[in-house]
């Protein structure tokens, strides 16, 4: 089971992960990214490249499935304006035992950060907005999986 979804509406991690529960595995690992209050941020805005974004997420799932014995994996990413405290991204992986699901989840979110065409803009309480800069620390984390 491999599933990628881009949503302009609110996402619920439990709903996104539900399909991974019935695959017969003993392990389901997941990561949820949430909008945090980073220096007065009230919301973030996510832009994507329709078509390429979905394809790049699917390729990450294919790469994870080739590397670890997974029963399934999902990536759901929200786009548009996302308020403080709301989920931005949900990544999940299911496997027979925990090691594969845990490692694959780390791989998927680390590589999503550097490979998938999304761009984030932070909105602040004073009405201003600013594009978020890519972080060298994200590159370093993604490099761990090469």
């Amino acid at each position: 089971m491999k599933h990628v979804r881009i949503s302009s509406a609110a996402i619920r991690p439990d709903q996104e992960l539900a399909a991974l529960e019935g695959l017969g595995g003993g392990a389901l690992a997941s990561f949820t990214g949430i909008v945090r209050d980073d220096g007065g941020v009230t919301a973030i805005e996510l832009e994507h490249y329709p078509g390429m974004t979905e394809a790049s997420l699917y390729r990450l799932i294919e790469a994870a499935t080739a590397r670890w014995a997974l029963l399934g994996a999902v990536i759901t990413h929200r786009v548009g304006i996302i308020p403080l405290g709301a989920p931005v991204v949900v990544v999940g992986a299911a496997s027979l035992h925990r090691a594969e699901a845990l490692e694959a989840t780390g791989f998927l979110i680390d590589r999503l950060k550097t490979d998938a065409p999304f761009w984030k803009r932070a909105h602040y309480a004073d009405g201003t907005a600013q594009w978020v800069e890519a972080k060298a620390s994200d590159e370093a984390r993604a490099e761990r999986w090469v």
Partner: protein, 83 residues
């Protein structure tokens, strides 16, 4: 060729996409970006720092030295920041 722009590049140019006739002597992505820069002051400003730009040719990530070949779409954007 269709040119598509995202995020800060889209805002600086003031367009999300445009059609462009690729000059005969533009062989690589880098050649083409240099030619696009000459279209207007806004293009020049948006595309001046190549180290802060990323490219996708027909929706695959590429570098400036990639040959254009028969590609139909070039996307230009800043480093990605999803998740």
């Amino acid at each position: 060729m269709k040119l598509v722009y995202f995020a800060s590049v889209r805002e600086a140019i003031g367009l999300s996409s445009e059609e462009y006739d690729v000059p005969q002597d533009a062989c690589t992505v880098g050649d083409l970006v240099a030619r696009i820069s000459a279209r207007s002051q806004a293009h020049a400003c948006a595309l001046q720092d190549l180290s802060r730009l990323r490219f996708a040719l027909d929706q695959n990530m590429v570098t400036g030295d990639t040959l254009l070949g028969t590609a139909q779409e070039l996307a230009i954007f800043p480093p990605v920041t999803g998740g």
